[in-house]
């Protein structure tokens, strides 16, 4: 504790990142460049999310960190321990108890509430990247709202597969203006972005971009009138807690073809099971 500044980053850096966050909140969906720092974890492990979290966390916050919905995977455990050591704040696995949640690839099943902040780790912030390689050109396309090419991609998907085949990072329009890549969350979570009571912050460390969806902002997933946006659904409940309508992971349990479908949100799943149930995680 004594060797590091509160939340690891120095105060000047935190102020710089907070300015970027404020701008991002003021212009929903717009990618704000910021001076991303070297962090003590490698790119792709959440350097952007960690910097945003470090800049907004306060001594009274209660922190939850999830990775693919789970509180107990390596990445989640490491980042949670990192902030416990450098800030001394309380940590939790409960979505309801947390004031600040850093996440990779999922939005919790438990509904978020006003006053909470969700920080998402983003590998590639630019939604137009695979369609237009030039950064100067994509910025111009955002500035002039030239998003027709994104629909070309959806058109191709429907033509080839009969539906939009993209299942994660499904592009959205924020507040009727900016096209946004909602980080690699499954499209199952896209509806939770729309008019979310919690503040959603997105940090991309390697690409040096921060963007935001302020509370209660309209977020619309792109679609065609005759091919409306749809989320994944499973025709069976969670094998552990019996939940229907939650995002399920497929788990292979033996070499005879046995498999389980279980909630990817471990906190949600554990809370639904009777207390006498076996340990909270199975792997």
């Amino acid at each position: 504790m004594t060797h590091y500044n509160f939340a690891y980053l120095d105060e000047q850096t935190k102020r710089m990142i907070r300015r970027a966050v404020l701008k991002a909140v003021a212009v929903p969906g717009y990618q704000v460049p910021f001076g991303s720092r070297e962090m003590p974890l490698s790119y792709g492990w959440g350097t952007g999310g960690v910097q945003v979290t470090a800049s907004v966390i306060g001594p009274t916050d209660v922190l939850k960190v999830i990775d693919q919905g789970a509180d107990d995977t390596t990445n989640a455990v490491s980042i949670r321990k990192f902030f416990a050591r450098t800030t001394g704040v309380a940590t939790t696995t409960s979505t309801e108890a947390a004031t600040l949640i850093q996440t990779r690839h999922r939005i919790p099943e438990t509904a978020l509430r006003e006053g909470q902040i969700l920080v998402l780790q983003v590998p590639i912030p630019e939604p137009l990247r695979w369609l237009e390689p030039r950064e100067a050109e994509t910025r111009k396309m955002h500035a002039l709202e030239e998003y027709g090419v994104m629909y070309v991609r959806l058109y191709e998907d429907i033509t080839r597969h009969g539906r939009v085949a993209q299942t994660y990072e499904y592009p959205v329009i924020v507040d009727g203006r900016y096209l946004m890549r909602p980080s690699p969350i499954p499209k199952f979570d896209n509806p939770k972005l729309d008019r979310s009571p919690a503040l959603l912050l997105f940090g991309a460390g390697r690409e040096k971009r921060i963007y935001a969806v302020p509370p209660w902002t309209a977020v619309k997933s792109l679609d065609f009138d005759d091919h409306p946006f749809e989320v994944e659904h499973w025709d069976r409940p969670c094998d552990l807690c019996g939940a229907r309508g939650a995002f399920l992971d497929e788990l292979i349990v033996d070499d005879k073809g046995g498999r389980l479908f279980i909630c990817s949100d471990t906190d949600f799943c554990a809370r639904r099971r009777p207390a006498a149930d076996p340990p909270r995680a199975m792997w």
Partner: protein, 262 residues
């Protein structure tokens, strides 16, 4: 021609100039393009034909001059002074641009249908079925079979790629089409079919077009009027038959007499 009906030219170009360092791209080029008219720009390689076209479309920034365009709503804008947003919008809506090489004008990694539908979707079409129906309609009009709608342009022949490029531009029914050597690199029988097609489309849709070509036969078939360029300057202009049958300027005479008669 409907030139007598409308009292204002669609496009009025004056004193257009562009230098590449000390090299002259084009100098003091001026012409009027009337509604429904096809203007041919001919001349040898390096005479500044493509530079003129690029200055019009804004791909190259001209050093000086004026490009007055009468928009569909009747207002007149100087295309050179439009901000980038308005210029790009104009190029997507009221103008079309057909490149010499189809690869420059097409998205090679998406299907023919998506290529034709792109401009529609860019303008706000959000109904897959309708976009596809319009694409099918336009593919038929440029004589590309219905069964090819989901194929990549990569698998098309050169002539088909060129026709696809034309369909992609005309789908939003632009008022002015700029074409750079539309028949370049195609063999003569394919050229002939493409020329027939272009002639039909221009007449049906009442398009105005500026067609840059080095091929006088193409100019003869398509253009109502001709500009002959040399060394970046317009040396002669007039009705196509007049220029080709009775050229006045020595260079125009040379150009016309250089054509091989089979």
């Amino acid at each position: 021609m409907s030139a007598t009906v409308d009292d204002r030219p669609l496009l009025s170009v004056r004193g257009l100039g562009k230098r590449y360092g000390t090299q002259v791209g084009c100098r003091d080029v001026g012409f009027d393009l009337w509604p429904g008219e096809v203007l041919g720009v001919v001349g040898e390689s390096g005479s500044g034909k493509t530079t003129v076209l690029d200055c019009l479309s804004g791909r190259v920034t001209a050093d000086g001059g004026q490009v007055a365009y009468t928009k569909a709503d009747g207002s007149v804008v100087d295309v050179r002074r439009l901000d980038e947003a308005a210029r790009r919008r104009l190029l997507r809506t009221e103008w079309g641009l057909v490149h010499q090489h189809a690869r420059e004008g097409l998205r090679m990694n998406v299907s023919a249908g998506a290529n034709v539908g792109e401009r529609l979707m860019a303008l706000g079409a959000r109904h897959y079925g309708r976009v596809r129906a319009r694409a099918l309609d336009w593919l038929a009009r440029v004589e590309i079979g219905e069964s090819r709608i989901d194929d990549l342009p990569e698998t098309f022949s050169g002539g088909m790629q060129q026709r696809l490029q034309i369909a992609r531009n005309l789908v939003t029914e632009p008022r002015v089409v700029l074409m750079d050597e539309p028949t370049g690199g195609l063999d003569v029988s394919v050229q002939a079919r493409l020329l027939d097609l272009l002639r039909g489309l221009v007449e049906d849709l009442g398009l105005s077009a500026v067609i840059v070509t080095h091929d006088l036969a193409v100019a003869r078939l398509l253009a109502h009027r001709l500009l002959v360029m040399r060394g970046g300057e317009v040396v002669e202009s007039g009705l196509t038959d007049q220029v080709l049958d009775d050229p006045q300027h020595p260079y125009a005479q040379l150009l016309v007499s250089s054509v091989l008669q089979p």
